[in-house]
């Protein structure tokens, strides 16, 4: 029982989906619907160490990676919020 409660405690549930949302926004704003630019933007992100295809809505949010995404967005002059 103690174990179940621990699992259900919102403090122990990791947030998910923010990284995917941020990456989707970044790619969408950079590529503006051009599929060729979507592919090249995704690859540029891979070269920076963030693989957008490996981050899904179920990937637990990682503050370190979120900070990297914001840093990249700033460099490529895209506003995420």
């Amino acid at each position: 029982m103690k174990q179940i409660l621990l699992q259900c405690n919102p403090k122990n549930v990791k947030a998910m989906g923010r990284m995917k949302k941020l990456l989707d926004t970044l790619i969408e704003r950079r590529a503006k619907g051009d599929s060729f630019l979507e592919t090249s933007t995704k690859f540029k992100l891979m070269l920076k160490g963030v693989d957008p295809d490996k981050i899904t809505v179920n990937t637990p949010d990682d503050e370190k990676i979120i900070a990297i995404i914001y840093e990249i967005a700033q460099k490529v002059n895209i506003k995420l919020d």
Partner: protein, 368 residues
């Protein structure tokens, strides 16, 4: 004549410049690409060319082998002239001091913005093509390409300068100025349609090597898959660890974008670590690649692109030195050269540029 390519094997730089001038002047060049063996006097060649082609933009670099229409060459100077009538606009900028290039790159982009009247971030990648030539011994290609890619969606294609495998000094040049630890950026708005072709002769084995410890700035991998790099690489290949360098040409690793590998080639072993010709970040997942036949694969990719375009008037080919060495080993150099039946210029690079820095690849620009 829209494009004209030419080569000379004249070793005397002054004589080589005369040869190039005699051959290319009739093309009324607005832009000339020159790739030259490091064995020639590069400063003199550039001085002479700048004097002879006063009204043309000249860019180029030293090479590790040259490519011209129908031929692969050594110890030569190759060139291609693009007629002024084919150029809507063209601007060249130099990025100096690659150890600390941020300011110089900003200045270059400001100059492009001023010249083209539009911020580089807004330029249409279908109308503009960028060329980049980087000092091939600088180890700064990854960072520079990353910075360029941050600023624009225009594709910058090019290569790292060579020095005929001496690995001592390489040069890039533009309009008579010869430099090292520098890069030449050329932003071109051609009047004719163009396409980019990136081709490499590899398929994925599906075997994964994850970078778990790296010294990125040195392009050194300490660990793959939480094991010493040499151990993990040998295990995946299924060969004796002492013999892995025999497999470097045939089995590099690839950062995969879908099914498309962006090749990173091993250079050498140091203890249980491996040096590559490209840097990799910790956490990157790579796939072990298996080589195919360069001539037949290039033929297939080139034919497909040429058919898609209908007609092709000229090709600029940035061709990895490792591919050149593989072709020499297999006695296929001339067969490769014969693939280029339209005016062609190119050189054997110390690394290719397309989105990032890559190896064992040819990045080409084809003009209609």
């Amino acid at each position: 004549m829209k494009f004209k390519s030419f080569y000379t094997q004249q070793q005397n730089a002054k004589e080589a410049a005369i040869d190039l001038h005699n051959a290319l002047v009739e093309c009324n060049p607005g832009l000339i690409f020159v790739f030259a063996t490091s064995k020639t006097d590069i400063a003199l060649l550039n001085k002479e060319l700048a004097q002879k082609f006063e009204d043309s933009i000249i860019i180029g670099c030293t090479s590790a082998g040259e490519i011209t229409t129908g031929k692969m060459l050594d110890n030569s100077v190759v060139a291609m002239a693009i007629n002024k009538s084919e150029i809507e606009a063209c601007k060249v900028e130099i990025v100096e001091n690659l150890d600390n290039y941020a300011q110089s790159l900003d200045k270059a982009f400001e100059s492009f913005t001023e010249y083209f009247g539009t911020p580089i971030s807004n330029l249409d990648y279908k109308k503009y093509i960028g060329f980049v030539l980087i000092d091939g011994l600088s180890l700064k290609e990854e960072q520079l390409m990353d910075s360029i890619g941050d600023q624009t969606n225009v594709f910058f294609v090019g290569g790292s300068s060579g020095d005929d495998l001496s690995f001592k000094t390489t040069y890039v040049f533009a309009d008579g100025k010869v430099m090292n630890n520098a890069a030449v950026l050329c932003l071109l708005k051609p009047k004719t349609q163009f396409e980019i072709l990136k081709t490499q002769s590899f398929v994925s084995t599906g075997k994964i090597l994850k970078v778990t410890k790296a010294n990125e700035s040195k392009r050194q991998i300490l660990e793959f898959n939480n094991k010493p790099a040499t151990v993990a690489y040998a295990e995946l290949l299924g060969v004796d660890e002492a013999k892995i360098s025999d497999y470097f040409f045939s089995n590099p690793v690839g950062l995969m974008s879908g099914n498309e590998p962006y090749v990173r080639s091993p250079q050498r072993v140091d203890g249980e670590t491996m040096y590559f010709y490209c840097s990799m970040k910790e956490g990157m997942e790579l796939q072990l690649l298996q080589t195919g036949d360069i001539v037949s694969d290039t033929h297939k990719d080139l034919s497909s692109k040429m058919n898609e375009m209908g007609t092709v008037s000229a090709i600029i080919n940035f061709h990895c030195i490792l591919r050149t060495l593989q072709l020499k080993q297999s006695g296929q150099s001339q067969d490769y050269g014969k693939l280029f039946t339209v005016p062609t210029v190119g050189f054997s690079t110390y690394g290719e540029c397309y989105l990032g820095h890559i190896n064992q690849t040819s990045t080409m620009v084809l003009f209609k």
